[in-house]
């Protein structure tokens, strides 16, 4: 790529777009926003094509000492690359999803979304811990506005809860970051990732980071802001929230908590596994009894994120890879599910499940696509969800068969609530006349949903495309974690051929 600062360009394009949108009419603002996100998507594809798989760990690095105390340092590894791709892929979809449904203050709306994109790419590309924090926290401002201005009836409560909850989670992390910067004498993330902090300090540093990431993730029991935020946010807001913002927590753990504090991570493994198990089971059960479609999908997100955290703290390659694929897959699938809800919400203006029914009759194409994403969310083989769940649970099984057992029930419960949702919305008799009169997908809606479906299918059939760029980084992380990895309870015996007679004598009764 020569010396072209492509990451800065990816930040600048939406930023310029956001400023332009702020001063534009509704129509022009939509076009500007779509153009800016598409340019960013194109830049993202260029980025991926030029990413040297198996090459240097940090690529496309840029560094400029613009500020006092921290640097403007950007750079990505495979993990960041994949999450950036997810962001730039979902952004045009978000703009498209708001094309007709947002009619008031369009310029400001588009500006807020473009700003979100800048900040999300910034979070994943930041190579300076304080720069990361700035991008990480700044995301609160546009999201607060998106929920508060364009949200539903209870939007003010939801926006406050979202803002204060996540802010409270992350303030202590800043102090921890400052301590680390002072202790290590550098604020560069790659340098901090290989710095060995004293184990006793790691404990509280880990907790400080965990407070922030657990809220962002969100993990049970600090997930309660998420259903509120999702229900009140406009469709595109939910897509970006579920698709990318929830990934910030997982990204934070894989980038900071695990490599920087391996000992503390091992120490707190059971805390994370325990919370993950509870999250998977409890939120799945909560999802089962929801009447509100968006709330149901929001709770399912918490359950899926539980599998991500379990996979991350499995201390092995499968778990980490599974967690990453789960994040990507969930970003696509839950984003698409919120879009599916948005499609029928735009027609009937209600999220009540009981107001729909029998949509497969009058909206066959919609029902098909909705079914695909339902299956992908459940984890049907051939979809991205299967790869994600299989890998992460295989990883978890190696560290604790009990945790794997409990988390696996989440798949069954997941199937239960998703299929129950689908049955009530798409199958059965057409009890509501207005719902029965709804037209099928428009071209715009096809354009939004089909690319996501294809991506989810691709990830399900050939996950290697997505795993390959991350493999080396995950191997590096796994190697760093190995010194602290807790002992597994499964006691695998691999490659040791025991004589048959002896095996009979000792363990014949198995």
């Amino acid at each position: 790529m020569g010396g072209f600062p492509i990451l800065s360009a990816m930040l600048l394009v939406p930023l310029a777009g956001a400023i332009a949108c702020l001063f534009s009419e509704a129509k022009t603002a939509r076009v500007i926003a779509l153009a800016a996100t598409l340019i960013d998507l194109a830049l993202g594809i260029v980025l991926w094509m030029n990413f040297d798989v198996g090459g240097a760990q940090w690529q496309f690095t840029e560094r400029a000492a613009l500020f006092a105390g921290f640097d403007y340092a950007l750079g990505i590894d495979g993990i960041a690359l994949m999450l950036i791709m997810l962001s730039v892929f979902l952004m045009p979809v978000c703009i498209g999803a708001s094309w007709t449904s947002i009619t008031k203050r369009v310029g400001e709306y588009m500006a807020a979304f473009l700003l979100m994109e800048v900040l999300m790419i910034g979070v994943f590309a930041a190579q300076d811990i304080l720069l990361f924090y700035i991008f990480f926290e700044a995301g609160l401002i546009p999201m607060y506005l998106i929920i508060g201005i364009w949200g539903g009836d209870n939007r003010i409560y939801a926006s406050y809860k979202f803002f204060l909850y996540t802010l409270l989670g992350s303030v202590v992390m800043l102090i921890a970051m400052l301590w680390m910067v002072i202790e290590a004498g550098t604020s560069s993330v790659p340098a901090l990732m290989v710095y060995d902090f004293p184990p006793e300090a790691q404990t509280w540093l880990w907790l400080a980071f965990f407070a922030s990431f657990a809220v962002k993730m969100p993990m049970w029991p600090v997930h309660t802001w998420l259903p509120d935020a999702h229900v009140q946010a406009p469709t595109a807001g939910s897509v970006i929230l579920a698709g990318v913002l929830l990934k910030l927590g997982g990204y934070g753990m894989i980038r900071f908590s695990l490599p920087m504090f391996p000992e503390a991570s091992a120490q707190f493994m059971w805390l994370v596994l325990g919370l993950s198990m509870v999250a998977v089971v409890v939120t799945s059960l909560i999802a089962l009894v929801q009447h509100d479609m968006k709330k149901l999908i929001a709770y399912s997100s918490v359950a899926h994120m539980g599998i991500v955290t379990a996979g991350l703290f499995a201390f092995n390659t499968q778990g980490l890879e599974g967690a990453m694929v789960m994040m990507l897959s969930h970003g696509l699938v839950s984003g698409a599910l919120f879009l599916c809800v948005g499609v029928i919400y735009d027609r009937l203006h209600t999220r009540e499940i009981s107001r729909y029914g029998g949509l497969a009759i009058n909206m066959p194409a919609y029902a098909t696509i909705f079914l695909f994403f339902t299956m992908a969310s459940i984890g049907l083989p051939g979809t991205s969800g299967f790869v994600a769940e299989f890998l992460s649970l295989a990883g978890v099984y190696q560290i604790s068969s009990w945790a794997a057992f409990v988390c696996t029930t989440g798949i069954i419960l997941g199937a239960a609530y998703m299929l129950y949702l689908y049955r009530r919305v798409a199958f059965g008799a057409q009890v509501n006349e207005d719902a029965a009169a709804m037209p099928d997908l428009s071209t715009r809606e096809y354009l939004l949903l089909v690319p996501i479906a294809l991506a989810a299918l691709w990830m399900g059939v050939y996950p290697e495309s997505f795993l390959a760029p991350m493999r080396q980084d995950i191997a590096v992380l796994d190697a760093r974690l190995s010194r602290a990895a807790p002992e597994s309870d499964a006691h695998f015996m691999m490659g040791e051929g025991t004589p048959a007679a002896e095996a009979h004598a000792e363990g014949g009764g198995h």
């Binding site: 702020l22 500020f67 926290e137 700044a138 506005l145 409270l168 400052l178 002072i182």
Partner: protein, 488 residues
């Protein structure tokens, strides 16, 4: 020789006092029709003083060359940086005022002169290296401020503000004087160098400790740190808005910088003696400032609590008691001044069709649909005050907490940071009211160019663009803090 040297060092103060006296004569004989000319002349005087101070700040003036009048006065870079902020804030208070007072028919020629004298007093305060100089500067500033608070003679609230400020201010001065006399009695000197030497000599005697505490209490009143903050909301609400803008910016700078000098220069060897007081005041200010603001409907009252809240963060920098802590405090002050001036400039732009000032939340409901530019500027300022990145307010907090963590005050940093979330709640209310609520459409007043320009400058400075200045700001603050003759 010594005298001419000294006079050279106090040249900015000389300019201010002489031009103030001349303006006073003009005001006495020329009357109020000269008020705008006098305003401009005072701005020029402040600008001249600013230009005179700036080089010494950049050069990092320190050491014996900066001492004037046999140790009474010290024109080092630390004082210089504070003076720059004070002159700039005073200038801003002059710029926003005419429009406000003219509508009430109260634009009198004394206003700019009083601001000028207050600025002179503050200038002496920050340069004081002797308790007596300190007191002279402080009183010159305070007496001007009392008059300014009750500048709207016919307005009951303004008169009440002036009276309250005067009574409580006199009490605080008394406490301060008492503390100074104790300090003098137990150290045998009034100059900071003598106090430093006496304090370094050994254990701190109970009498000296009492003196220190009383001096701190008197100064805490001036910076409105909890528990000496009670006057702030009333005075801020009652005083004319341009005067409130002035109170919230320049005197805060002067008193905080002075407090830093007294604590770190005079009592620097006994940091443990005052650190717990400062830590308590810091945390209490953050919490009380945040909680008190929650129920407020009046925007000026709310900003008063916000200033109390901000003082808490300033004191965290001081609590570090290191050079880095003082530098962080100066950086935070600079950002705080910009945010304060910006917020009051925005407040002054809230006028209804008849030109009356609007000051409550109900008035700014839905401002973003009727006056988007103003609403967005206020949004930037509020998020900045709340310390949300990527605005400059965050960076101010960052450097302050950085210093605290560096000085191993982890618990203070964690508590302060957590308490800042409470403050975020009411700053968010600003945004909520302006952006989420139905438009009340009361703000109708026509634009005021000078005010707008000031607001625009402040908004740009606290936006992420301001980060490009951080390198420069930090280096200046570091030289300034480095110019203090630290003990040990």
């Amino acid at each position: 020789m010594e005298l001419s040297n000294s006079l050279g060092l106090v040249l900015p103060e000389l300019i201010l006092s002489l031009s103030g006296l001349v303006m006073l004569l003009f005001a006495a004989w020329g009357g109020d029709r000269l008020s705008s000319a006098i305003s401009i002349a005072c701005c020029v005087a402040l600008g001249a003083a600013f230009a005179l101070v700036a080089p010494s700040v950049c050069a990092g003036a320190s050491g014996p060359d900066t001492i004037a009048f046999f140790g009474q006065f010290r024109a080092d870079a630390y004082a210089g940086m504070a003076k720059l902020m004070i002159y700039a804030a005073s200038g801003a208070a002059l710029i926003v005022a005419p429009r406000y007072f003219e509508r009430l028919g109260e634009m009198r020629a004394e206003y700019p002169v009083l601001v000028l004298f207050a600025a002179l007093g503050m200038s002496i305060m920050v340069s004081a290296s002797d308790l007596l100089t300190l007191y002279i500067g402080l009183e010159l500033n305070s007496l001007s401020a009392y008059v300014l608070a009750s500048f709207l003679r016919t307005n009951e609230k303004s008169a009440e503000a002036g009276l309250k400020y005067f009574v409580l201010g006199a009490l605080a001065s008394g406490i301060l004087l008492f503390g100074m006399s104790l300090t003098y009695g137990f150290t045998g000197g009034t100059s900071f160098a003598a106090i430093q030497a006496a304090a370094a000599a050994g254990e701190m005697s109970t009498g000296m400790l009492f003196g220190l505490i009383f001096v701190l209490a008197g100064l805490a009143f001036k910076i409105s740190a909890v528990p000496f903050h009670m006057w702030t909301p009333d005075v801020y609400e009652g005083a004319p808005t341009p005067v409130t803008a002035f109170f919230a910016s320049a005197p805060k700078v002067a008193a905080v910088v002075l407090l830093g000098r007294v604590a770190v220069e005079a009592f620097g060897t006994q940091a443990d003696a005052w650190r717990q007081v400062v830590i308590f005041a810091a945390l209490a200010s953050i919490v009380v400032g945040a909680l008190g603001a929650i129920g407020q409907q009046n925007l000026k009252r709310l900003l008063a609590y916000s200033s109390i809240n901000n003082v808490g963060f300033l004191l965290i920098g001081l609590a570090a008691a290191t050079q880095a802590g003082l530098a962080a405090m100066l950086v935070y002050l600079a950002i705080y001044v910009v945010m304060t001036i910006g917020s009051f400039a925005a407040l002054l732009l809230l006028r209804d069709a008849e030109g009356n000032q609007l000051e409550t939340f109900a008035d700014i409901a839905g401002l973003s649909t009727t006056r988007p530019a103003l609403a967005w500027c206020l949004l930037l300022i509020m998020f900045s005050l709340a310390g949300i990145p990527p605005l400059m307010g965050f960076w101010g907090k960052l450097v302050v907490f950085w210093a605290a963590v560096e000085a191993n005050l982890l618990a203070l940093a964690v508590l302060g940071m957590a308490a800042s979330v409470i403050g975020a709640f009411y700053y968010l209310k600003f945004v909520k009211v302006m952006f989420f609520d139905e438009a009340a459409d009361r703000v109708k007043g026509e634009a005021d160019t000078a005010n707008w320009a000031l607001l625009a400058i402040c908004a740009v400075l606290i936006s992420p663009i301001g980060y490009l200045l951080t390198g420069w700001l930090v280096s200046i603050a570091n030289t300034a803090a480095g110019s203090l003759p630290l003990a040990g």
